[in-house]
């Protein structure tokens, strides 16, 4: 009899959702068999069994969220082995006492870590240690409580007022002891409508959305961005793409402008190693590998699959690999290693007709290139106004890692490479 725990499947993962159980209770399980699909903050991943036996219990049902380390199921020696209830509660290890009896469904969804602050790293509200302990005991979320102490600190009086309000709305709980409630009180049902005069309703947020919010907030708060803009003449690039795609016609591969830009970025980064760097904890890291991430919009939110060793990857492979990763991203099937290790990102909103835009850096990378739409512009050539296809590029740079002149030299080289596209593949 052994318990299966919610695994840590990525560095940033703090909790996981049971996406679906592949094995049913009573199924025979062999090492390597996929037991369950788990949705992390980044992707849906298959989780395999490490030992032989029978799945005798699914402690967490599909769609539920539990923290890392929580028991999600039990593997036994025979299909009808009875799991030891005392050791296989569905509570997180952080919870002090397992519920004495089966709790109603709604309560299982209560986040055990709610009282100690949101799990996604948002700043937790100012609160006294006593208030935090009481909130934990009453099952209250500090985010929902307004503090009356100095600088808005939540103190005991605020918790007790909130607990009183809660027990008034849940009469069955009024008998709960005031000082030492043993079981967390059920949380109030999530508010569906906010009476804020704007007819608002709360939209359920998935893990991808939470990670986007946290990472990009961190980026804008901690990374001093500066921006460099440059418009390139895309006539040669257009001709080059047509020629390349003609040669590849038989293979079914079709190179996009974005593929060319990604490859050009990798080639140019090789000549500008200072841009291929990260500022981490007061240290400057210069990366030997060039791994370009490509921002992809999917239903769940923005994900950035990474093309490892982009500079060494042939253009045709960049194209197929990007399409493959984008498809996986849309299905939520990207593996963490396919989204980590990036050293530079490219974000392209050209397909929406955006002229140009400033992108937010994807930490700990030092820069991101925002690519606008290709469009015809009236430009001056040899004293004549002519119509040319152009693309506007905007480079966002972390000034801690890269200075203005260094970034500008990179952008200049990149622009010239794109205007003389043979250099992309040289």
């Amino acid at each position: 009899m052994s318990e299966i725990y919610m695994p840590r499947l990525s560095d940033t993962m703090e909790e996981g959702v049971i996406s679906s159980w592949v094995k049913k209770v009573g199924d025979k399980v062999a090492p390597g068999d996929v037991l369950v699909e788990i949705e992390t903050d980044k992707a849906v991943m298959e989780y395999e069994a490490y030992e032989e036996g029978f799945l005798v219990k699914q402690s967490v049902s599909e769609g539920e969220t539990v923290p890392i380390g929580a028991v999600i199921g039990v593997i036994g020696d025979s299909p009808d082995a009875v799991p030891d209830e005392s050791g296989s509660g569905d509570a997180a290890p952080a919870q002090e006492e397992a519920p004495a009896e089966e709790q109603p469904k709604a309560e299982e969804k209560a986040e055990p870590s709610a009282a100690t602050g949101p799990a996604d790293g948002a700043p937790r509200p100012r609160s006294s240690p006593l208030a935090r302990r009481l909130a934990r005991e009453y099952g209250l979320n500090l985010d929902d409580i307004e503090g009356s102490g100095p600088k808005g600190r939540i103190v005991r009086a605020d918790i007790e007022a909130a607990a009183k309000k809660q027990s008034a709305s849940a009469p069955a709980q009024q008998e709960a002891p005031r000082e030492q409630p043993k079981a967390p009180a059920p949380q109030a049902a999530p508010q569906e409508k906010y009476d804020d005069g704007r007819d608002s309703e709360e939209v359920p947020v998935n893990n991808v959305r939470k990670v986007i919010a946290r990472r990009l907030l961190q980026s804008k708060q901690e990374v001093p961005h500066f921006y460099l803009r440059r418009t390139i003449d895309a006539e040669a690039l257009k001709a080059f793409r047509a020629e390349v795609n003609e040669r590849l016609a038989d293979t079914g591969v079709k190179i996009s402008f974005n593929d060319l830009i990604v490859k050009a970025v990798a080639t140019t980064l090789r000549r500008h190693p200072a841009v291929n760097s990260s500022w981490v904890d007061d240290r400057l890291l210069r990366h030997g590998r060039i791994n370009v991430g490509v921002a992809v919009a999917v239903d769940a939110g923005l994900v950035v699959p990474v093309l490892h060793d982009t500079d060494k990857t042939p253009l045709s492979e960049i194209s197929t690999k990007t399409k493959e990763l984008a498809a996986k991203a849309r299905d939520g099937k990207l593996k963490p290693q396919e989204m980590s290790g990036g050293t530079f990102s490219v974000s392209n909103l050209g397909m929406f007709g955006v002229d140009s835009f400033a992108a937010v850096i994807n930490p700990p990378e030092a820069a991101i290139l925002a690519v606008g739409a290709m469009k015809q512009e009236a430009v001056v050539r040899d004293g004549e106004i002519v119509a040319r296809n152009t693309i506007a590029l905007e480079l966002s740079v972390d000034h801690r890692a890269v200075d203005g002149a260094v970034g500008a030299a990179f952008l200049k080289d990149l622009a010239e490479t794109l205007e003389e596209p043979m250099r992309i593949i040289l």
Partner: protein, 332 residues
């Protein structure tokens, strides 16, 4: 039950202990013929004679050393150092000899002596004669440091100190000698060394003090009770060993604490108390622990400045109210 002064309680206890045990004897400056600078030993030379009440030269290191030697050979000396300020002359004897001999020589001999000495400011005695440096001794393993705040405690704790086999620094206070309190007639109680006392029960906040500050804490609690505030007062009584359990238990009940101390704030006794509270009652704290201590200056001589430098009923009351306000009690 009779109401007597702190001074009287000490004198009665010394006298009774000298009658009880012929090995108990007194030594110090001006304690015999002059009957003590603060008259604690009044009448004792006449009653017990020069052999047991010994006037010494003005040489603290010498007579503290002599007392250590006597204690090692079986007597129970009670030394009076005129004020704690003068103990600095004898600090090597106290810290490097009295506190260490039992441990360093394999327990061959204990050092059953008492050093009685008053601290405290507020008497316009100037910077060198108004210090509260009990911390120096409370810091030293091998010593016991007692600091009674009432006549009854002074009596039962002095009994305990004299009968204890280890060196005890017995802290008195110039501001307490004339205070009065009830002492049971014929009381023979011996205090347990290392126990603090909850001298007033309350529910809203814990106010901690020792020696004179324990008395002032009681006055603050009395005053605030009239405003509907329930203050629990903890009298530390023993600075070493320190009774952390009683402190922590009280703060676990009230959720917040103020420490009042006559010594300086930085590195003071209150710092140790605050640290003990966060170690033992972190999850019970609803507000930061506040300390009210003497101003960080050598004691001024001028009366208004001296008064301003010392913690007072008003400054402690303010700290209590501010702390209560921080936990949501709106008080005037």
């Amino acid at each position: 039950m009779s109401v007597i002064t702190y001074r009287q309680a000490l004198r009665d206890t010394l006298r009774a202990e000298m009658h009880r045990d012929e090995n108990v004897f007194l030594l110090g400056e001006e304690i015999g013929v002059f009957e003590g600078s603060y008259k604690i030993t009044e009448g004792l030379l006449k009653e017990f004679g020069e052999r047991r009440v010994r006037d010494t030269p003005i040489a603290e290191e010498g007579f503290v050393g002599a007392a250590i030697g006597a204690a090692m050979l079986g007597l129970r000396p009670v030394v009076e150092i005129m004020t704690i300020n003068f103990s600095l002359i004898a600090i090597d004897q106290i810290i490097n000899h009295a506190a260490k001999i039992y441990g360093m020589f394999g327990g061959q001999t204990s050092v059953p002596m008492v050093i009685r000495t008053p601290g405290g400011g507020g008497q316009q005695l100037g910077a060198t004669h108004s210090q509260n440096i009990e911390l120096f001794y409370s810091f030293i393993p091998g010593l016991k440091v007692l600091a009674p705040s009432t006549p009854a405690e002074a009596a039962s704790m002095l009994r305990a100190a004299i009968r204890d086999d280890d060196p005890v620094l017995f802290l008195e206070n110039l501001g307490l000698y004339n205070t009065k309190g009830e002492v049971p007639d014929g009381d023979e109680s011996v205090a347990e060394i290392g126990r603090a006392a909850v001298t007033r029960e309350g529910t809203d906040i814990t106010l901690i003090g020792y020696s004179r500050m324990a008395m002032v804490a009681g006055q603050v609690a009395e005053k605030l009770a009239a405003e509907g505030i329930s203050v629990e007062v903890v009298d530390l009584r023993s600075l070493r060993p320190l009774d952390r359990d009683t402190i922590v238990e009280s703060v676990r009940k009230t959720g917040c604490a103020v420490v009042a101390e006559d010594d300086w704030l930085t590195y003071g006794i209150g710092a140790e108390i605050a640290a003990s509270i966060q170690e033992g009652a972190f999850d019970y704290l609803d507000a930061p622990v506040r300390r009210v201590a003497m101003a960080e200056v050598p004691m001024p001589y001028a009366k208004p400045l001296e008064t301003a430098a010392l913690p007072s009923i008003d400054s402690i009351t303010t700290a209590v109210k501010e702390t209560l306000s921080a936990v949501g009690r709106r008080v005037g």
